[in-house]
Amino acid sequence: MGNFVDPFLHNGFMQRALLAGILVSLTCAIVGTYVVLRGMAFIGDALAHGVLPGVAGAMILGMPAMLGAAVGAAVMVGGVGFITARSKLSNDTAIGLLFIGLLALGVVLVSSSDKLTGDLESILFGQFLGVTHSDLLAQAIALVVVLVVTVFAARPFLLLCFDGDLTRAMGYKAQWYHRLMLLLIAGTVVVSFQTVGSLLVFGMLLAPAGVGALLAKRIGTMMLWASVVGIASTYFGLLASYHFSWAAGASVVLTAVAIFFVVLTGVSLQKFVQGVRT
């Protein structure tokens, strides 16, 4: 048992990493559930990459990285709205254009500055093992905000997943709640990128919620499953990272994705066996 518990008992950085991972998992479980149910994976992915130039810019200017990430996410969300409103282009074309444009800008910024050499990797893949107390505080605040917003908007959010027209016909401002949902995704990415990285936070949004979608009959249970999978991935991923010296963020996300495929195979096999029997 020592191998499973000791790394967390004796190392402060492992304890902080575990706590940060749990906070990220819970936030991503809630927000990811809506991302999966509403098919917003692409905008989520784009947001995750779109923060890169913001972070790089903030670092060059000597400002907080999170502030830069927030600006990057805001440009992304606002830009998608602007392009779709001003042209007849579809949402995914608008998202794709901004996504790749912002990513390219981010790489240009990083490559142009001597200060940032080597930082690109930590932006994309996070610094799980270097989590500070202020990072933890930011993540805890993010979780509380996400919880409050989800409780406040539970009914319109559920309706939006079910049918946009019905949401509006029932008098809810569907567009308003859609934007609120985008803000939640953006906020989650902005706060979580320092831990799991802007590239990998997307995996924490999708994989655990994907498992939830496979197993749950209700939205609440889906969020619960997603939380369990996220936390389990954090624990086993960090453990693997500690013992085998693997990159921490990548180990955690890899575990989550592996769990998804194992559950998917199990569910498919179960359906196949049921089909053979009947």
């Binding site: 559920l158 997943c161 027209d165 016909a169 029932m170 008098g171 939205i219």
Partner: protein
């Protein structure tokens, strides 16, 4: 409850400034029913969406339950023709029906006993009580449609707007739907259905035959003549008993 359900004057409906259907006059009383009949693209769904407040009025006047359209959403039930993600969502049938009560109580108020009674009654009327705990995505298309109809009923609305309500329903499903509709009308609800099912339309008080314009408007036995149906659907149809028989092909559109 005595105000008129729908009043439309020289109403044009469509998308943006482009009218899909013009010249609609409507006056629907509580307990009354109107069928919008036409083929695909005739404008019947667009008209229904406009009545539901989902599309802005292109021109003309429209009042719903005595107020400008869109201001009575709490007392209107809308059944859309397509459901976006009914197959992905982890929801049980009863959860879907309960959604119909969402805007009937304040944001943070919990479900009341009265809500539960209405939800159960609605599911019984559509004969889906035994499916209550089944995931929606495991139900057949016809069963899902019945669950969606139960959701509409659970709103206890003054005006029901139904787009192709009998799509995918089998004979028992249709019978349950007709019972449910009679129940709604007997308590004073007005109903507008969009359909291309002439048999279903003939049960309504009034029929609007649509093909980008109003071909005919009046009681079903007056309006649904072979000539009018030919103009509406582009093929000759004659009502024989409860069945429609194709009698001739229309060639006007070829010119």
């Amino acid at each position: 409850m005595s105000e008129t359900a729908v009043v439309a004057r020289r109403l044009s409906v469509g998308y943006g400034s482009h009218a899909v259907l013009s010249g609609v006059e409507a006056f629907l009383k509580p307990g009354g029913s109107t069928a919008l009949v036409g083929s695909n693209g005739s404008g019947k769904s667009t008209l229904l969406k406009t009545l539901a407040g989902l599309l802005p009025v292109v021109a003309g006047g429209l009042e719903i339950l005595g107020r400008p359209v869109g201001e009575s959403s709490q007392r209107v039930a809308y059944l859309s023709q397509f459901h976006q993600s009914g197959f992905v969502l982890p929801l049980r049938a009863i959860d879907v029906v309960r959604m119909g009560r969402f805007d009937q109580r304040s944001r943070f108020a919990r479900r009341t006993r009265a809500d539960d009674v209405i939800v159960n009654e609605s599911m019984e009327l559509l004969k889906v009580s035994d499916l209550a705990d089944r995931p929606l995505r495991d139900l057949s298309g016809g069963q899902q449609q019945r669950v969606y109809l139960a959701q509409v009923l659970a709103r206890r609305s003054a005006l029901l707007l139904l787009d192709e309500p009998t799509a995918g329903l089998d004979a028992p499903g249709r019978a349950a739907y007709i019972d449910a509709l009679n129940f709604e009308r007997s308590r004073g609800a007005a109903v507008v259905t969009a359909t291309h099912d002439v048999g279903e339309a003939s049960m309504c008080d009034r029929v609007l035959l649509l093909a980008g314009r109003v071909i005919a408007d009046g009681p079903p036995n007056v309006v649904m003549t072979p000539e009018n149906l030919l103009e509406t659907f582009g093929i000759g149809l004659t009502k024989v008993g409860d069945q429609l028989v194709v009698t001739e092909h229309h060639h006007d559109h070829d010119h």
